[in-house]
C-alpha cells in the first residue's frame, strides 16, 4: 500500500458516556477518601518522585476518576506511570482533605498493573 504520510488521529476528548465505571467503583470502595480530593495539587508539589521524574499523582488521580485507565496502565503516558511512586507517603501528610493518597496508589497498581 502506498504510504501517503497520513495517519488517523485518535480523539483526545474524554467520553464519559462510554466510560467503564467498574474499576472506579472498586477503587472508591477500597479507598473511600479517594472522592474527597479538591484538586489542589499539594500532593504533586511535595512528591519525592515528582522532583526527579515527570510523575504527577494528582493527574493520575483525575485520569482514574474520568475512567481513563489505559492512560494509567500504558508505558507511553509516562507522567502517570504508577510505578514511579516510591510510596514515601509525603503526599498523605500534606493533603488538606485527608485523602489516603498512598493507599490510593497501591490500590490503583493492584487494579491496573496486576
Amino acid at each position: 500500500m502506498i504510504n501517503f504520510g497520513y495517519k488517523i488521529s485518535t480523539p483526545r476528548s474524554i467520553d464519559m458516556d462510554s466510560a467503564d465505571s467498574r474499576l472506579y467503583c472498586q477503587l472508591v470502595e477500597a479507598v473511600p477518601s479517594y472522592r474527597y480530593c479538591i484538586g489542589c495539587g499539594g500532593c504533586t508539589a511535595t512528591c519525592s518522585a515528582g522532583q526527579f521524574t515527570d510523575f504527577n499523582i494528582r493527574k493520575a488521580h483525575f485520569l482514574f476518576s474520568r475512567r481513563q485507565y489505559d492512560k494509567l496502565a500504558s508505558d507511553t503516558f509516562t507522567d502517570t506511570d504508577l510505578n514511579k511512586c516510591m510510596l514515601c507517603g509525603k503526599c498523605s501528610l500534606v493533603c488538606p482533605r485527608g485523602v489516603n493518597t498512598r493507599g490510593l496508589i497501591l490500590q490503583m497498581r493492584k487494579l491496573l498493573l496486576k
Binding site: 483526545r12 476528548s13 474524554i14 467520553d15 464519559m16 472522592r35 479538591i38 484538586g39 493527574k59 483525575f62
Partner: protein, 342 residues
C-alpha cells in the same frame, strides 16, 4: 409623625418593617406580588442547614402581624420621585424633600426591591428553552420541593449535571460580578438529588467553588464524602439535545487539560442574580442606579444602607447579590439608620 414607605416585602423589607413597627413607627409595605416572600417560598430547603423554606418564611411573615404595619400586596410601585426632581412644592415640616410613591407622598422611603434570576435564554449555547432536558436552578428547586425529579420523558434521571456561573462572572452576559450563592446552591441541590435519588449520578461543573459562608465548605465536603457528588473544574461551553430527549454537554476538564463530553438526563443551569425590574426602574428614577442596574448605596463601608438621596434608604439584594441572612441583617441595619434619621 413621618410617613415611611418600604418597597418590597422580601426578607429585607419585612425585617425593616418589623423593627420600625416595634419602635412605634407606622410603615406602609408595598409588594408587587400577591404574597410576600416569593423568593423564599419557592425554595425547598435553605443552605447551609437544610431549614425548611416554608417554615423560615412563616417566621418572617409572622413579623408582619403588627398594627403599625400596613401591607399592600399586588401593588407595584412604578413611580418613585423626590420633590426636588419632580418639581412639586410639597415639603415636610423639616424642609427635607418628600417622596412621591406612585401618587402618595412619603417622607422616608426604603428601597428593598430585590433581585431577579438571570434569564437563561440569554445563554443560547446552553440550550435553555431549546432542549427539554435543560432547566434552571429554580426549576430544579421546584422539582426537589415537589419530590418529583424527572427527566424530559418523565422518568427518574440517571445523571444530572449542574453548571455554575450562568449569567455570572461572564462578560458575554454583561455581568462581571459573582452572584455568590449559586456555588452553595448547586451543592445543596446535588445533595437533595442524592437524597431523593441515591442511584442518580450528580456532577457539578465549576470555574471556582466559592464556599465563603459559614458551613458552606462543610456542605461541599459532605456532598463529596457522604453523597458521592462529583465535581469537575471546567465551564460547559455548549449543550446539545440528543434524540432521546437528553442533553450532551462539552467542557474541558481543566485539571486534566483535556476536553470532556458527557450525556446527561438533565442539565441544571445555576442562574445568577440580577437587579429586579423594580430595582432598575426605581433606582434610575431617583438617580441612584449603580453598576449592572443595582441600587447604589452612599458608601460601601460605613453608609451602606443610605443613598445619596436624602430620605431614601436601600437594603437587601437591590444593592448586590445577597443571601437570606445578609438581606435580613441589612433590613435591620436600614431600619436602624431610618430610626436615627428621624
Amino acid at each position: 409623625m413621618k410617613k415611611i414607605a418600604i418597597l418590597g416585602a422580601g426578607p429585607a423589607g419585612i425585617e425593616a418593617a418589623a423593627v420600625l413597627a416595634a419602635n412605634n413607627c407606622p410603615v406602609t409595605l408595598f409588594e408587587k406580588e400577591a404574597q410576600p416572600l416569593c423568593n423564599i417560598t419557592d425554595k425547598a430547603f435553605l443552605f447551609p442547614n437544610f431549614a425548611d423554606a416554608n417554615e423560615v418564611a412563616a417566621s418572617l411573615r409572622a413579623k408582619l402581624d403588627n398594627p403599625n404595619i400596613t401591607l399592600r400586596c399586588s401593588t407595584e410601585v412604578t413611580q418613585l420621585t423626590p420633590s426636588y426632581i419632580a418639581g412639586f412644592q410639597e415639603e415636610s415640616l423639616t424642609g427635607t424633600p418628600v417622596w412621591k410613591v406612585n401618587e402618595e407622598l412619603y417622607d422616608i422611603v426604603l428601597l428593598a426591591t430585590g433581585y431577579t434570576p438571570f434569564d437563561a435564554h440569554r445563554k443560547e449555547e446552553l440550550g435553555y428553552g431549546i432542549y427539554p432536558g435543560v432547566h434552571t436552578s429554580l426549576e430544579m428547586e421546584k422539582m426537589i420541593k415537589e419530590g418529583n425529579i424527572v427527566n424530559s420523558l418523565g422518568e427518574k434521571p440517571k445523571r444530572i449535571v449542574f453548571l455554575q456561573c450562568v449569567g455570572s462572572r461572564d462578560e458575554k452576559s454583561g455581568n462581571h460580578y459573582c452572584s455568590k450563592l449559586c456555588c452553595v446552591t448547586a451543592v445543596k441541590q446535588a445533595i437533595e438529588v442524592k437524597k431523593q435519588l441515591p442511584d442518580c449520578e450528580a456532577y457539578v461543573f465549576y470555574m471556582d467553588l466559592r464556599m465563603w459562608g459559614q458551613g458552606f465548605e462543610e456542605m461541599y465536603r459532605t456532598a463529596q464524602q457522604e453523597y458521592g457528588v462529583s465535581f469537575v473544574r471546567g465551564r460547559i461551553s455548549e449543550a446539545g439535545g440528543t434524540f432521546d430527549g437528553r442533553v450532551q454537554i462539552k467542557a474541558e476538564d481543566t485539571l486534566l487539560g483535556r476536553p470532556l463530553k458527557m450525556t446527561s438526563d438533565l442539565l441544571v443551569l445555576m442562574v445568577g442574580m440580577e437587579a429586579s425590574k423594580g430595582t432598575r426602574e426605581l433606582a434610575t428614577q431617583c438617580r441612584i442606579c449603580g453598576e449592572y442596574g443595582f441600587a447604589q448605596s452612599k458608601d460601601p463601608h460605613l453608609h451602606d444602607c443610605q443613598s445619596e438621596a436624602p430620605g431614601l434608604f436601600v437594603a437587601g439584594a437591590c444593592k448586590r447579590p445577597m443571601t437570606l441572612t445578609d438581606s435580613v441583617n441589612d433590613g435591620r441595619s436600614a431600619a436602624y439608620e431610618i430610626l436615627t434619621s428621624l
